[in-house]
């Protein structure tokens, strides 16, 4: 299948391989070494690396700068862009900036509310929402125009992605919401991390019923649990997260020193199960601050070596 952009991620997906992506959070300062190290750690085990955009509203080095750094290292970044902090002028501007460095992947998000982060007294922007951002990128790429109507000099060649959360409420519109994003022009999806596999498969069933899995590439999100404490925190304190009791029980059944390894084991088992789920086009392994485990997970799940996209 022909690709629409120079994106390596797009090529791997269109060639019919299961894609593997991961994600890194930029530093809380201007010292970029941290991103360089993480990139080096996982580069042979993933097809693309997301850089988060001031995630949970904690001010960090911007995603765009970190993506540029990865690109200059020869890696394939995914620029995460939230609509919380920038108006439509800045969003278009940053898209052009990213494209000028040949960053070919973008993930369009609304962003966590600023009350979660370090500047709860700040304004939020939300000039446009994540679905309108998808439309905006496609408009710039395919029509070669700004939102205001003028022609652009140099279209941003971006493979457009968004997030999906099959575990948030109301469940009944979670498939229609994916349909909306597809209608807006989304080409790939990374889901919220999955612990409730039954519920995820139920959502996938609804997705398949409407043929949506053929209109965009769905990458299943996974985050290995490090401990019972982490599992409980995610269950109780993270909005839109579904951690079934069995997950916590299984971790509790193992002594403290072995919980992390059990969490990794569970992650690998999930990948094995989801490989059989029709419509899953790949995996988005989010091991934030635990990136060193990504190679182990990818290998044990039988996803190594990565296809050469050239």
């Amino acid at each position: 299948m022909t690709t629409k952009t120079p994106s390596k991620l797009e090529k791997i997906l269109r060639d019919g391989h299961l894609a593997v992506t991961s994600e890194c959070g930029p530093p809380r300062g201007s010292n970029i070494d941290h991103i360089v190290k993480k990139g080096e750690l996982i580069k042979d085990h993933v097809d693309a690396i997301n850089i988060t955009d001031n995630q949970t509203s904690m001010t960090r080095l911007c995603s765009l700068a970190a993506c540029i750094r990865l690109k200059l290292m020869g890696l394939e970044p995914v620029l995460q862009m939230v609509t919380r902090d920038r108006n439509r002028i800045a969003l278009q501007s940053d898209i052009l900036g990213a494209a000028s460095f040949d960053i070919n992947n973008i993930l369009c998000l609304s962003g966590d509310h600023q009350s979660f982060g370090d500047c709860p007294q700040g304004q939020n922007v939300h000039d446009i929402d994540s679905i309108q951002l998808i439309q905006a990128v496609r408009h710039m790429r395919d029509e070669g125009k700004f939102l205001g109507g003028d022609e652009l000099e140099g279209k941003p060649e971006m493979f457009v992605g968004a997030a999906a959360n099959p575990f948030a409420d109301p469940f009944e519109i979670r498939v229609p919401r994916l349909a909306k994003k597809i209608a807006a022009g989304v080409e790939f999806i990374q889901t919220q991390c999955i612990y409730n596999l039954d519920k995820f498969e139920e959502w996938m069933k609804g997705v398949r019923e409407r043929g949506l899995h053929e209109k965009c590439y769905i990458l299943a999100g996974l985050t290995p649990m490090k401990s019972v404490g982490m599992a409980k925190y995610m269950q109780k304190r993270v909005p839109g997260m579904d951690v079934p009791a069995e997950v916590i029980k299984r971790l509790q059944g193992v002594e403290k020193g072995k919980q992390a390894q059990e969490g990794i084991k569970m992650c690998i088992e999930s990948i094995q199960r989801l490989k059989e789920c029709e419509g899953v086009a790949g995996f988005h392994v989010m091991a934030i601050e635990w990136e060193e485990k990504v190679p182990e997970i990818v290998e044990a799940a039988g996803l190594y070596p990565r296809p050469n996209s050239n």
Binding site: R84, R88, S110, G111, D112, H113, S115, F116, N124, H126, D127, I128, D129, S130, I131, Q132, Q135, L147, A163, A164, N165, A168, D169, P170, E172, I173, P176, R177, A179, K180, A183, A184, Q192, P239, G240
Partner: protein
């Protein structure tokens, strides 16, 4: 109505500390309904200010008056003859009233006595919640009469976001998820298919972003 909340008395005392002839000016409309700035509240504040002044051994005159409203000249004109005796006015009207009063009485200090909060409705006595952000282009017809601009913390036009949990917003378990409400209402109106319609980009030029706004009705202007 415009909902306001009382300012802490300490703050008002501090603001008025150098004044000796004060008028506490209430408003009989919105701030009366939300029990922040009507005749009753004027009385209680004036009494508190008098007691504080007496306790400090200060000679301060504090008068009370409540106008029908403070956003129309005809009512503010009622104090034109008496205002000179005061060296300050603390207005318990909303931000509009405080400012409009100041415009009519250019060289008189007019201080706010309430914090104007939002456009909202009475859920029950003592509880008011926001409903409208006055964006200038009402889209309630497309969202089952529930406003995503005022009631969604991220003012999403194609919501909900992934943080919606059991009908509540990620910012606070007491805040309803506007998009849950919209979906419920579209269901009740048998228009759930409307959910998938893509909402176009908002024109914010009629909102605050476009600058201070004005409505002119030529058909009514004199």
């Amino acid at each position: 109505m415009i909902v306001a909340d009382k300012k802490p008395i300490e703050e008002i005392i501090e603001t008025l500390k150098d004044h000796k002839n004060i008028l506490v000016l209430g408003c009989n409309e919105c701030v009366t309904v939300c029990e922040a700035g009507g005749k009753k509240e004027v009385g209680v504040l004036a009494s508190a200010l008098r007691m504080h002044a007496s306790k400090e051994g200060k000679e301060v005159k504090i008068d009370e008056l409540t106008l029908e409203r403070q956003c129309d000249r005809e009512y503010l004109d009622e104090i034109r003859d008496s205002i000179d005796q005061y060296d300050a006015v603390v207005s318990l009207a909303c931000g509009v009233g405080v400012q409009f009063t100041a415009e009519q009485y250019h060289d008189k200090p007019i201080y706010p006595g309430v914090n104007t909060t939002f456009l909202g409705a009475t859920e029950e006595r003592g509880v008011w919640t926001e409903r409208c952000q006055a964006c200038g282009q009402c889209i309630l017809a497309t969202t089952g009469s529930i406003c995503p601009v005022a009631r969604c913390a991220k003012r999403l036009f194609n919501g909900p976001c992934g943080g919606s949990t059991t009908g509540k917003c990620e910012i606070n378990a007491e805040v309803d998820c506007a998009w849950q409400l919209i979906v419920d209402r579209l269901k009740a109106l048998e228009r759930l298919d409307d959910y998938e319609k893509l909402c176009p980009l908002k024109d914010w030029s009629t909102d605050r972003a476009g600058g201070p706004r004005k409505v002119v009705r030529e058909d009514v202007k004199q």
